[in-house]
């Protein structure tokens, strides 16, 4: 294992410009099926970029290529100017279905990323406990995933991703499996996280409202073959109070505009 991943990425940071992650001409074929074709996109540092599109447009495929879980057929992905060849310490993944170990406690689940990096048990549990508190699960350290609600499980998944202190967080429809109220709370918390942590967020979603609410930049993906049809950057929403965003005219305009361009792709 690389023992100085963070130092190396930091030095690269200074060299490269605003994009933390850049995707250059990526194509992905599964046999005859073309999942992605020649897709290029930049993800600005310290901001949240949403990949928004109807199902089957390849947004999860793109995220997994960036994560290094899938290899692109063509093209390349760079994180901090370094080409991606596999999973790396600079990226952490939050899974749609949480991907928690059912046989492990919350504490071990949150510490699992550090465990795989060979961090000593006392150290990693101390870090994990801190992040468990941060996501609001203090007192549940000894619980098992099946004893938690869907929302709480995703907080565990989030804490696990935060605990490894990666610069880039890859979130694959993280809130789609939780109920509406929990989702709204999550979205507010996410805005706090983007503002507070100096991390780059890549956020896959199929909800237009969610994308507009949480994003600094929205990339709209269209299917067959997948391509970026439009990149929208809401300008005035970040300065608003979190509870006022949904009433903001810009918010409503962007939601309408995105729906207008997506509606023809809905069967």
């Amino acid at each position: 294992m690389d023992t100085h991943p963070i130092d190396m990425t930091r030095s690269a940071t200074n060299a490269s410009a605003a994009a933390a992650v850049s995707v250059r001409g990526v194509s992905k074929n599964y046999g005859q099926v073309e999942a992605l074709r020649d897709l290029s996109l930049d993800f600005p540092r310290g901001q949240l970029t949403s990949l928004l599109g109807p199902s089957g447009c390849g947004k999860t495929t793109l995220l997994k290529i960036i994560a290094g879980l899938l290899q692109p057929t063509e093209g390349e992905v760079e994180v901090n100017g370094k080409p991606v060849t596999g999973p790396g310490p600079d990226r952490a993944f939050v899974f749609q279905d949480f991907a928690l170990l059912p046989w492990a406690t919350v504490l071990r689940n949150v510490a699992f990323g550090l465990e795989l990096r060979g961090v000593r048990i006392s150290e990693r549990e101390a870090i994990a406990e801190q992040y468990i508190r941060n996501v609001g699960l203090a007192g549940f350290e000894k619980s098992y995933p099946h004893e938690l609600s869907g929302g709480m499980r995703q907080r565990v998944g989030l804490a696990r991703a935060l605990a490894v202190d990666s610069e880039v967080l890859l979130m694959d429809e993280p809130f789609s499996a939780v109920d509406e109220q929990t989702r709204r709370k999550f979205q507010e918390d996410l805005l706090g996280l983007v503002a507070g942590e100096n991390k780059t967020f890549l956020f896959v979603t199929h909800s237009i409202e969610e994308a507009v609410y949480v994003s600094d930049q929205i990339a709209i993906l269209l299917p067959r073959p997948s391509r970026v049809s439009e990149v929208i950057r809401p300008s005035g929403l970040r300065t608003r109070n979190v509870s006022d965003i949904r009433r903001d005219p810009e918010y409503l305009d962007i939601v309408d505009r995105i729906w207008a361009s997506l509606r023809s792709y809905v069967e």
Binding site: A67, L69, A99, P102, L116, Y144, G150, A177
Partner: protein
């Protein structure tokens, strides 16, 4: 209510079945059909005289040796089959055929090769118990949840980390269930070998009592071995539920 409905019904169904046995024995439906109480009296006699304990020592020896061998080799083979494509291609068909085939037909051959001693009996237990252990283990390893494996890789787990910390723990409930099914098959094998190869242990009590027409003792021996098997398997199932309760429920969405 002092007793739960399900307990009352369980007792009731026991009374009905054993009562029917008693009545059928009293008619009698056959000269070779003793009553329930006669059989239980014979069981008590055997227990008091210690005969039945000597018999069980004899019967359980090949069973336990065979099950231990099947568990170790079976799980090892199953892990290998589940993790390696070429080994899967090479070995799986053998166990798939074994699973479907009436392996009891191998017994006369085993007796010719290994004689009528312990070796043959252990072999019978092994061929009965091993296929289900191997196939369950392999299937569980092969079908370990992709999302958990991806999670492991994305957090920089090595191949070995993923196998030890993700695949094997997630497969263990099904591996354990395979061991339980293997044990059930092993019991069949152990008794079959005692009835077919040489009468020892419980098989000896059954065969001997039959030959002197002591039917209550014969029924008592059969009753006791079936009770023993059921209790033991029940115990395994409870252990399983205790250990893997969370693991099984954990995949359910809420």
């Amino acid at each position: 209510m002092p007793m739960s409905r399900s307990l009352v019904l369980k007792l009731l169904s026991g009374v009905i079945v054993f009562g029917a046995w008693e009545v059928a024995g009293r008619i009698p439906v056959s000269y070779a059909f003793p009553t329930f109480f006669e059989s239980m009296a014979a069981l008590v006699d055997m227990t008091v005289s210690g005969w039945i304990f000597e018999a069980y020592v004899e019967t359980l020896r090949p069973l336990i040796i065979g099950l231990l061998i099947s568990a170790f080799i079976g799980i090892a083979l199953g892990l290998w089959v589940g993790l390696s494509n070429w080994f899967d291609w090479l070995v799986s068909p053998i166990f798939i055929v074994m699973q479907a085939a009436p392996l009891a037909a191998l017994i006369p051959l085993l007796v010719m090769v290994y004689g009528i001693g312990l070796t043959s009996k252990v072999f019978v237990v092994c061929i009965m118990a091993m296929p289900v252990i191997v196939l369950n283990t392999a299937g569980a390893v092969r079908n370990a949840p992709t999302n958990l494996k991806e999670m492991g890789y994305s957090f920089l787990g090595t191949e070995q980390d993923i196998i030890l910390k993700v695949i094997i723990p997630s497969a263990s409930p099904i591996i354990f269930a395979g061991l339980r099914l293997g044990t059930s098959a092993g019991f069949i094998g152990a008794i079959l070998s005692e009835l077919k190869i040489t009468p020892t242990g419980i098989g000896d009590i059954i065969t001997y009592s039959r030959s002197i027409a002591d039917y209550p003792s014969m029924y008592a021996a059969i009753f006791s071995i079936m009770v023993l098997a059921v209790l033991f398997l029940n115990f395994l199932e409870r252990t399983e539920r205790y250990f893997f309760a969370g693991n099984v429920r954990g995949y359910a969405s809420d």
